[in-house]
């Protein structure tokens, strides 16, 4: 198989980054940033997930087709969230107009 063999050094580097980011997200949670707490926590989670997908799951070294399929999951998720929230968030507007 002509697959890319990722050197263990890279895996350990990603592992270290994930651990640091975990400590960071726990630390930030104790500081009151109002609504930004959730934004920061989710941003750190997205960065961690991206590191896992690109390196541990080898997507960085995969074919374009794998990229598209992996990204499609996120696209469908985004559609589900957008349409559902377009409904829930706009319900008050309709009542206010009446």
């Amino acid at each position: 198989m002509a697959a890319h063999v990722v050197p263990p050094r890279v895996y350990f580097l990603i592992f270290g980054s994930l651990m640091v980011l975990t400590a960071l997200t726990v630390g930030v949670a104790f500081i009151d940033l109002k609504v930004m707490n959730t934004v920061v926590a989710l941003t750190i989670a997205v960065v961690k997930a991206t590191l896992v997908v690109l390196f541990f799951m080898h997507v960085k070294y995969s074919t374009r087709l794998t990229w598209v399929v992996a990204a499609s999951g996120i696209v469908w998720l985004a559609i589900m969230f957008s349409i559902t929230f377009a409904d829930y968030l706009s319900r008050g507007w309709v009542n206010a107009a009446q």
Binding site: M1, A2, A3, V5, V6, P8, Y11, F12, I14, F15, L18, M19, T22, T25, V26, A29, F30, I31, D32, L33, N37, T38, A41, L42, I44, A45, K48, A49, V52, V53, F55, F56, M57, H58, S62, T63, L65, T66, V69, A70, S72, G73, I74, W76, L77, M80, F81, T84, F85, Y88
Partner: protein, 225 residues
Amino acid sequence: MSETVHADAQHAHHPALQHHFDSLEQQAEASTLGMWVFLATEIMFFGGLFLTYSIYRMWYPLAFHEGSHHLDITLGAVNTGVLICSSLTMAMAVHAAQVGSRRGQIRFLILTILLGGVFLGIKAVEYAEKFRDHLIPGHHFQWHGEANPRNVEIFYTLYFTMTGLHALHMIVGIGVMLVILWMAYRNRFSPQYYSPVEVSGLYWHFVDIIWIFLFPLLYLIGRHG
């Protein structure tokens, strides 16, 4: 006749090569792609729960804040570390397969399974505490905070549904790893053929990613203030 002989010679090339694939590369690519399609459906499976969480949290922010505050942040953080360690050992197991190290595969797969077991053990301790504190949604649910108990109950329903489904995925993952460990023990993998290790690794890392999102959303939102 000569064509048949030629074809047989090609198929005899590697015992793991299925007849409907041209090469091991194509076969590996198809396996990986198939797993990613499955993972895309898994994103939607958990996505529905994350969406439900988002809507209820928008409606009952105080209940979610108080409910989250009661969760054990130390156990949650330790479990996050345990899962990240298991992802590292899983990645190293795939690496061992790529370089043809049977010993490495066995060692790292056992470590991965053990770390998965530690995660589930800690989760069991947490569930037992919630049981003791009457936080299991249902008739005996009790809440003595400022928030409406019915709304905190929704937080705990989501907590148990999401972490329970995640734990179920972990149990399935450990089962898969036991099969892969058995195959590695039987020396079934080589640098030319290790798709089962790679593909089950993708599943394991995916379950790790779900936890990466569950941890802040369930444990961290009630810390400040």
